[in-house]
Amino acid sequence: MNRFLDLIAHNRNILMLLLLSLIFLTFTVLVPHFFSMYNVLNMTQYGVEIGLLAFAEALIIISGGGGIDLSVGALLSLTAMIIGVLVGRYGFNIWLAVIVGLGASGLGGALNGFMISFIRIPPLLATLATMYIFDSLALLVSVEPQFGNPMPISKFPDSYFFIGQSTIFGIPFQVLFIFLPIFFILNYYLKSTIYGRFLYAVGINDKAALFSNVPVKKTRFSVYIIGGILVGIAAVIMTSRIASARPDLGLGYNLQAITIAVLGGINIFGGEGDLIGVLISIGIIVVLYNGLQLAGVNAIWQMGTLGIVLIGSAIINYLLSKRKLYVISLKNSK
């Protein structure tokens, strides 16, 4: 058992790539139409949206102090609805609507960050509450004034669709021009900038960070805002892709985002993990989801599988860190 754990600990990313390939191959063999141009395209497009949410979740969890965000899916729905309604019902210019949407999602993140960092509400409870608040707001926004009912809206201009629906040399636009750049920027932010360092420091030991002149509150506050903006970008891409906005767009996304982060090696207690693992993990989860769907598995079981993956990854992470501590204590007592 211990040898197995050590193997995982030293080669986590490689093993995950292997796992990804394995799952991919399995589905290719077992599920018809899985390995088709259309489907791979589909997967990558979906992967971008959930991937951005997973990045948001990862950053927030790294910041420690119980950091987590249950409201990402709801914020996605809300932002999508705001954009959709501004364009579809009030005739805004689409790009203006996008800016307002991004502003709204940033504000949503700021609300979380403010409650958590400055009022000291535990992140779990704060984002649980905002999850329901954002969901409710999304429903409210979606209500057609004449009918009084929440309705999806689908009045987007054609000029909008290139974001989510066009491809360049077969690669989706959003992958090439939004997702990958963001991945590199976030990775750069985490690994090479002073703010990334601050994030890890705060996540590992916020007391030592305070004593070392690291702005703890500001760092945690800003990471929720960044998360909010990422969610907003995902909302833009999604509405552009499916050409409509629904108030339940983000249903179940918080579970997916958290599972991807945990599977990707982000330590739930903070201070540990990187985006490369998360990237591979996005691949695994998206392939899994898509494959199950094509195989005819009901959406509910897709979520159910995700639940198992979440618990499984959490247990593996836990065993890994226990093993690590044990190895260190062995070394030190020599």
Partner: protein
């Protein structure tokens, strides 16, 4: 400064919630036609009973500084089991026992991973929430039960019946409240739950098996969700794939409102029931005042935040 235990009562959350309740009842009573209508009150109490019973379990969990978002899924599974066995003609006492057993079993899944392995409750219960919801779907085969064929009358009686003018589920809730008030106050393990939430190290040093307490608390809650599931199936007469979905929000809201501190260590069953009442009254009043049901999430979410802030302010004040 003398702090008489008599005056202490007025500073409790329970008291505040009761006052707010009374004010709201007066408000809704005066501004709407039907609030004080006996059938509305009965309806209200029925809604309170399922949330209230579940919140008893959630209270014990949150006292240990844990959380359980899988309450709705556990409720769903028990509802399916109850409904199906009812359709197969099992006697109601057996079905009830089964409900308790299944609830306990499912709760033990959470409890084992949280108490003995040590994974944070949010991750575990998020996982079991979705996994068990999938099981609900699986057990129902994608259909729903209870309309054709309908559940037997004997089964429906529990949820819809009335005893001396008060709905049976309310009696069940009251009974459970009394049992748990006793348990949490007079049984050593009941007190150990508070000890674990107050100071886990001190509890360990005193020889309390913290792992067993945590394991146990989730089982207890599972049983209570089971009772709520049984009642819900019996009351509504239908069990679908999404039965109980989102249930945990109301339960957590009720518990937090009722004075159970999210950081652990304090909370009362009575407070959570009052919290459940408050949530139900607000929801009901909103409907009667023709406020859109869509506002529900907004208001309940805002209430949760408000009461947590109140808790934080109280703690800060105490520290000085």
């Amino acid at each position: 400064m003398k702090k008489n235990s008599f005056f202490r009562f007025f500073r409790t959350r329970e008291f505040t919630v009761t006052i707010i309740l009374l004010l709201l009842v007066i408000l809704f009573g005066m501004t709407t036609k039907n609030f004080l209508n006996p059938s509305n009150i009965r309806n209200l109490l029925l809604q309170v009973s399922t949330i209230g019973i579940a919140s008893i379990g959630m209270t014990t969990i949150i006292i240990t500084a844990g959380i359980d978002v899988s309450a709705g899924s556990i409720l769903g599974i028990v509802a399916v089991v109850a409904g199906k066995t009812a359709l197969s003609g099992y006697p109601i006492w057996l079905i009830f026992l089964l409900a308790l057993l299944v609830g306990a079993l499912l709760g033990s899944l959470n409890g084992f991973i949280i108490g003995f392995i040590g994974i944070p409750p949010i991750l575990v219960t998020l996982g079991t929430m979705s996994f068990l919801r999938a099981m609900v779907y699986q057990l129902l085969g994608g259909k729903w039960i209870g309309s054709y064929p309908p559940f037997p009358d004997s089964f429906r009686k529990v949820g819809t019946g009335v005893f001396y003018g008060i709905p049976i589920p309310v009696w069940i809730m009251l009974g459970l409240v009394l049992i748990f008030m006793y348990y949490l106050r007079y049984r050593p393990t009941g007190r150990y739950i508070y000890a674990t939430g107050n100071n886990i190290e001190a509890a360990r040093v005193s020889g309390i098996s913290v792992k067993k307490i945590l394991f146990f608390v989730y089982i207890l809650a599972g049983m209570l969700y089971g009772v709520a599931g049984y009642i819900m199936a019996s009351r509504t007469g239908i069990v679908q794939t999404n039965t109980g979905a989102g249930f945990e929000l109301s339960v957590i809201a009720a518990t937090v409102l009722g004075g159970t501190n999210i950081l652990g260590g304090e909370g009362t069953v009575v407070g959570s029931i009052l919290g459940a009442l408050l949530v139900a009254v607000i929801k009901n009043g909103m409907i009667l005042m023709n406020l859109p049901a869509l506002l529900e999430g907004l208001i309940v979410g805002a209430i949760i935040i408000g009461s947590v802030i109140a808790d934080i302010l109280k703690t800060r004040e105490g520290k000085r």
